[in-house]
Symmetry: C2
DNA sequence: TATTGTTATACTCTATAACTATA
DNA sequence: TATAGTTATAGAGTATAACAATA
């Protein structure tokens, strides 16, 4: 059998062309890469993505029960415990007993938590800029609008905010 | 302390607005959801995403060494072993010894593998249509072009194909 | 010495069930 | 009986190191 059949293309480091036809494939790939970059950036604050999400939710809604945190951040309630534990130990959030329902722990943002959130925003902005570097301003707005419409179509939690 | 402070917003199931400002956040969220849907669809064929990637690469490049498969699909070489094992057991791919280099195993697509790839394409097309449902044809092209440019900017493996 | 394929291990993220204390 | 919080466990995906055979 001819050896030529087994030669490996020296320029073989290419993604299969038929996968690139799917926007879904590009979304999944870029989404993973983006998540990786955000995670890496937040590591400078000693925080994970979900910590950032919780800080953001607390800043916008004030005292929130852990169940509401889970829904807003899109994770299971069983994970919120460790996440809030970490924020509390770092002095970024506090748990308070809700006098109206002793089962409930209202979580609040501390002043230090607010400052940490601001720093997270700066880190996220840097990642965003690097990610969208090849696009001009109009294209970035176009991309954002398209992504937001898709997200809102598949998840009601995005729709309410998207309408504004 | 006033109980009102602790009341949970009945409409709290909303994503933090400041996170939605980041296209990167939307990319990560949509990317994860898309991956989940693709994975679920491919399960009908008993395959995972990486199996699909390998089948696609084999169809486009013919006999390929496992190292080249790893680069093309974007995974570590140590994972290729089990993936190709599964494809071989399912009769979708074959390993042949490369007479030119006895270390190398050239992987080829079988006729059944080609048929399985075609079915995967159908499944992927269905997922893609559902995902992009809220966009019209022109918007889908626009989104795809933007995503491809971002991907090509950050990964040379996408650039070569994107130029076509 | 470098490369191909292989095996093994660990770590993160995610999903799920089960338990307690309150309502 | 249902809910809020908690604990524990298991799985998939990913990353890494180490090894044998061959170049």
């Amino acid at each position: 059998m001819a050896t030529i059949l087994f030669l490996v293309d020296p320029c073989a480091a290419q993604v299969p062309a038929r996968l690139l036809r799917w926007s879904g494939f590009l979304l999944a790939r870029l989404g993973f890469e983006t998540k990786r970059r955000f995670t890496e950036a937040l590591d400078h604050e000693g925080l994970r993505l979900h910590h950032y999400g919780i800080l953001a939710l607390l800043a916008e809604r004030g005292p929130v029960a852990q169940t509401a945190l889970a829904e807003g951040v899109g994770i299971d309630g069983s994970h919120v415990v460790a996440l809030v534990d970490a924020l509390e130990e770092a002095g970024l959030a506090e748990r308070r007993a809700d006098p109206a329902d002793r089962r409930r722990h209202a979580v609040t943002l501390t002043r230090a938590g607010r400052a940490a959130l601001d720093r997270c925003e700066q880190l996220a902005a840097t990642v965003e800029a690097e990610l969208l570097a090849p696009l001009d301003e109009a294209e970035r707005r176009e991309l954002h609008e398209l992504l937001l419409r898709i997200a809102a179509h598949h998840d009601a939690r995005f729709a309410a905010v998207a309408e504004r």
